[in-house]
Subunit: 432 residues, 2 copies
């Protein structure tokens, strides 16, 4: 792909090949509204589509948006998501055409100084907000190596995976209200934990991160109807974010029988602010982990289908002393189940999805020791120090620690498609 | 309490002592808006508070509502709930004063024929909608006798209750999008179930109801903060509904390890349409089931506190042949945990609640055989026929069956406070 007249550093997650969507407020407009990220800038879509250039754009370049320009003035991307994948595709392509170095429409933005100055702002000048209004949040458990490693820890290698694990994408309902955007501080939760086999009420001593990929739903299915796996892939996915599903392991161990995790998860989950459209990830498809279990019909995807993505993922842990260590490097291909399979399973019994719903992949770990997507795995259940720069070490997170997830795809020709940061800093319950 | 000039049958759930709030659309106004139920009528609050009587009402009778009258024109009760318990109390008392037989303000409504005819409509003429926009739904497991009976079935009497059960109100996150209002047909879910130890995809063969009480939250706590148990009781509860948490037992048995129920629950949960205000239930307080386990401080309520309610509950099963059998009669006092305790636990780690969130009590069963709030218990795990009128019998629900939950409190002096019906009819997946 050719370059852009907008300055895009070579290592930027937000190359011309990406064009992720987010919600911003700006010095000139404190109400939340839509933008895309380009290099170190944002292009303000509310400004663009309320400007005098808008009629040209919606007649000549992005006709499918005509009559829907107001979606970019809204405080979430839900209405844009509901317009459907064909519109997302055309809007992304239209923006790429506008900002390409060899744009055929230089007068619209590149050579239109007043509009350019109003619409193109440095990212550091804007505030990023949650991109979607999240009606329901579901967290799956599709990271095979994570499920296996944690299973070995609790039940030994012979019974590491539950009998259902390779037959269906195991998942549970999470807490939508607890989802925060990157940068929001995260309070260490107080909870009931077992200490010397007695329950006490105390701040969690085993606070952890979980490296996940999040998937935003673009459209609703009617209650009582199911979504086929290929229909899910083509029509139900808006885009993707990074997701840190913070977990308090000691609270979880005591509370989770028999109904699953609750307070160990519902204090906060952090997502990256920019939604990378499904189309932007298409060139980076990869095969999921092979599953030798014969699948039920509703979960079957074509043989050799590349049903997941090869997103390079990493987790940085920054200490209160500002020393940063990359504690995990892996890929999002380490999933046993694809998001279309998760959607097909989720709706099998007629559960209604809605635009803005968030699905989590479950913790993504690779097969090697350096690819573990949680401290629970890295510290082998808290038994082993995870060594950090600065002579420091962790089993679980300390107050003042910052966890930053990063993820990107690259084709070697400058088409880098990344997520930016998914970052959160832990503060102690005493400081509140 | 004296009578009303509105006709209220003696056995009505909606006596002058009740005044529950709901969302209706009417022949004259198809947009959803607020009303209260009185006998067999509804009083349209949008009509009332946009009428010429409104200024008198908000200066003389309900001053705390002044400036907020628009909340009754909204399609949910969320904004009204957020006004706080003092306002709910004053509005309820003001409506009671208006419709009392000996009202001091006869000119406002009783003798104002045009307004009376516009605002007071037969219930059968209006359509009832979901009363709240439900951000998150949490289902607890506080029905002690249910938890014990089901535990015996799966693990024997020695291990019936998990070690955490008497230490904390066990709960899990449910699916907010799946909640429907009474009367909505419920499709039998298809799911993965084990048949002869092999998974198949098929309609659930073990479809069940669950008799629960639902509690709507009236206000938000900031993320990272907790709500004390007494504060929860005084300020965080808007009101109550009946809740049928439909459950597919065969789907549940296969899917629920290790993260809890998912597709077995997320196809539908039905609530009654009228929200009975917390204040209306105050006279019917009762002691919860005694818990001999020493409680953590954040769960402690004053000794001898009547922390739950003695609501008479029943479950009617109506066959496709229209024969109705009451299969369960019990009381909502059969809870080990109160809603304030559930709220204190839910927020212990800082989970943010929002106005409109729904909490379920968990299935309510009494100690006796006639008090079992699910077919799983009534049929002893599907082993025993539950006999019905008309020479019929069930272990689990058949297509065409209708389940109706009812609940009311009565003081013997006409102060009957009830919920109306929470009703749903099962239809087969083949008919869709």
């Amino acid at each position: 792909m050719a370059g852009s007249w907008v300055d895009i550093p070579a290592d930027s997650d937000f190359s011309l090949a990406n064009i992720p969507f987010g919600i911003v407020s700006t010095p000139n407009d404190p109400s939340s509204h839509a933008a895309v990220a380009i290099g170190t800038s944002i292009l303000d879509l509310k400004v663009l589509f309320t400007s005098s250039a808008s009629p040209f754009l919606t007649t000549q370049i992005i006709p499918s948006l005509a009559g829907h320009e107001h979606v970019f003035a809204q405080p979430t991307l839900n209405a844009f998501a509901e317009l459907g994948r064909a519109v997302h595709r055309e809007v992304r392509a239209g923006i790429q055409a506008l900002i390409a170095a060899d744009t055929s429409h230089p007068d619209v933005l590149r050579d239109n100084a007043p509009l350019r100055e109003a619409a193109l702002l440095p990212q550091r000048a804007v505030t990023l907000h949650l991109p979607m209004s999240i009606g329901d949040y579901t967290d799956f458990y599709a990271g095979y190596h994570h499920a296996y490693a944690v299973g070995v820890m609790f039940r030994g290698p012979a019974n590491a995976l539950q009998p259902n694990y390779t037959h269906l994408p195991v998942g549970y309902h999470g807490r939508a209200s607890s989802i925060v955007v990157s940068g929001t501080p995260v309070r260490r939760p107080v909870g009931q934990i077992l200490l010397d086999e007695k329950p006490v009420t105390a701040p969690s001593r085993r606070l952890d991160f979980e490296l996940e990929l999040g998937c935003f739903i673009s459209r609703a299915n009617a209650q009582g109807t199911s979504v086929a796996v290929d229909e899910a892939d083509k029509e139900f996915i808006f885009g993707y974010v990074l997701l840190n599903d913070w977990s308090a392991r000691d609270i979880q161990a005591w509370e989770y029988v028999p109904l699953g995790p609750f307070n160990s998860k519902n204090f906060a989950s952090t997502i990256s602010p920019w939604v990378v459209l499904a189309d932007a990830l298409e060139p980076f498809r990869a095969a999921a982990i092979p599953n030798s279990t014969p699948l039920q019909g509703y979960l079957q995807e074509p043989k050799d289908k590349k049903s997941v993505f090869d997103i390079k993922l990493e987790v940085d842990l920054t200490t209160p002393e500002s020393d940063t260590t990359t504690v995990c490097r892996t890929s999002s291909r380490n999933l046993l189940w694809s998001f279309p399979q998760m959607i097909a399973h989720h709706t099998l019994g007629g559960c209604p999805l809605r635009a803005g719903d968030l699905l989590g992949s479950g913790t993504i770990s690779g097969p090697d020791a350096s690819e573990r997507g949680s401290l629970l795995e890295l510290s082998e259940g808290g038994k082993k120090d995870v060594l950090l720069y600065g002579m420091d070490a962790r089993t679980f997170l300390k107050d003042g620690d910052t966890v930053t997830l990063r993820g990107y795809c690259a084709d070697g020709n400058g088409a880098r498609v990344g997520f930016g940061e998914c970052r959160g800093r832990i503060y102690g319950p005493s400081s509140n």
